[in-house]
């Protein structure tokens, strides 16, 4: 087979896996939240509710495609497309295993972290345009809030990567994972790890940072006016983004596919997926545990706490590397 065809097939498989993971992450969230609240969760469609995602997809697809008459038709349709495209695009460079054989990643680029930051920061366009183009009050408020929140936390997120880059000496994701063979970076970079986890939750607009959707005050925020599959696209993008930041956390801080305790008899991909799964569970756990932030505190927390901490962390890392390396 010509190599471009191999890449094409791999891309198709990867996208299929990502979408399937989204479907079952959503089911897992509803199940786990159900158990945490002492109720069974979805259990009617198929055994243990396993066919629930298929039922939801069929229902969303057959819904009427509504658009408020105040909306801007082109941008209203463009916004969910942009959200989805940026959410999918990140996986072009995420390695799921060691790249020596070139099997477990689509592209192994040497500017990996920069590519990640560039693509993930485009995600804010879908949300801000979607809320603005709806021509309605709640979506507008929600999208402006979302934009301010996402750009504020993106700053601290970008700075939390720098400690890792100093230690690894490369921006290639493959190189960063290989640099963690002896010591996973969440130990020397614990502060950066905590900052990253907090900003990751805020970037994906998940509870307790879900002010963007805030059902009780904004009635779902930026996607109030979206229904059917167009709402579904935002929903897919949100879960795929959760998966993305879980992958990044595993790659940059938890050693990627490196095995803990030298248990290398388990394949690397299994370790990687376990770490990603842990993060996804952590998300659900947060959602069913914590109440929502207040908006002024959210912004103050991002600018006055996370930003200086991340900067201090990178300076301390630089001092340690400069003096002892």
């Amino acid at each position: 087979m010509p190599i471009w065809l191999v890449v094409l097939v791999k891309s198709g498989i990867l996208l299929f896996v990502v979408i399937t993971t989204f479907a079952y992450a959503m089911l897992a969230e509803r199940k786990v939240m159900g158990w945490m609240q002492l109720r069974p969760g979805p259990n009617r469609v198929g055994p243990w509710g396993l066919l629930q995602p298929a039922a939801d997809a069929a229902k969303l697809m057959l819904k009427e495609d509504l658009m408020p008459r105040t909306a801007d038709p082109l941008i209203y349709r463009l916004a969910p497309f942009l959200s989805l495209l940026t959410a999918f695009s990140v996986y072009a460079i995420i390695p799921f295993g060691a790249s020596s054989a070139g099997t477990w990643a689509i592209g192994n680029v040497n500017a990996g972290v920069l590519f990640l930051l560039a693509i993930t920061s485009l995600g804010v366009y879908g949300i801000s345009l979607g809320g603005w183009a709806s021509g309605s009050k709640y979506p507008l408020l929600g999208s402006v809030r979302a934009t301010a929140q996402m750009i504020s936390y993106e700053l601290a997120m970008g700075l939390s990567f720098i400690g890792v880059l100093i230690l690894a000496g490369t921006t290639s994701l493959d190189g960063i994972v290989n640099a963690q063979q002896r010591l996973w970076f969440f130990i020397p970079q614990f502060v950066a790890f905590v900052v990253y986890v907090i900003t990751a939750v805020a970037e994906t607009n998940r509870s307790p940072f879900d002010l963007v959707e805030a059902e009780t005050e904004l009635v779902a925020g930026f996607h109030t006016e979206y229904s059917g599959l167009r709402f579904g696209l935002f929903f897919i993008a949100e879960y795929v983004n959760m998966l993305t930041v879980s992958c990044i956390a595993s790659l940059l801080f938890l050693g990627g596919w490196n095995a803990p305790f030298g248990w290398t008899w388990v394949p690397g991909i299994v370790w990687f997926l376990l770490k990603v799964g842990f993060f996804m569970f952590f998300y659900i756990w947060l959602r069913s545990t914590l109440p929502r932030f207040r908006y002024d505190r959210l912004m103050a927390f991002g600018w006055k706490v996370l930003l200086p901490i991340a900067t201090l962390n990178l300076l301390v890392t630089a001092v340690v590397v400069a003096v002892w390396s």
Binding site: I3, W4, V7, L8, S11, M61, L62, K63, E64, D65, L66, P68, T70, F81, L84, L85, F88, S89, Y91, A92, I106, G107, V109, N110, V113, F115, S134, G135, S136, Y138, L140, V144, T147, A148, I151, E154, L155, G158, L159, I162, I166, G169, T171, V219, E225, L229, R230, L233, I236, D296, M299, A300, W303, K304, L307, T311, L315, A318, A322, V323
Partner: protein
């Protein structure tokens, strides 16, 4: 193949998938238009006022602060990757840079730029 060629192929596949999903609702959904359905949502009442009007200026300030600090954060990346080679020289350079950054940061803090009133 150059490292970015597979990335390009994947992006094309992702684009096709996103276009497919975006095109589906127009094809599959039934349509029963009705003037009430295309009202913008406002808790079930008639929209009381036009959209727009006054908006908190704080959001513009946040946007500007973001541009300023994000551009400065971007200059950390090349330095960070070369830190093992630059050693003390790189450290001093960056300490001076961070001090300049910190003066601006302290000024914005003192002026209440991070205060949400």
């Amino acid at each position: 193949m150059a490292p970015y060629a597979p990335v390009g192929i994947y992006l094309v596949v992702a684009l096709a998938a996103a276009l497919l999903f975006t095109g589906l609702p127009g094809l599959l959904g039934r349509r029963k238009p009705n003037p009430q359905k295309s009202d913008p949502y406002e808790c079930g009442v008639e929209p009381t006022s036009a959209l727009g009007g006054r908006f908190p200026v704080r959001f513009y300030l946040i946007a500007m602060l973001f541009v300023v600090f994000d551009v400065e954060a971007a200059s950390f990346y090349p330095w960070a990757v070369q830190m093992h080679a630059l050693r003390l020289f790189g450290l001093f350079e960056m300490v001076i840079f961070v001090i300049v950054l910190a003066i601006g940061y302290a000024y914005v803090w003192k002026k209440g730029g991070f205060q949400w009133r």
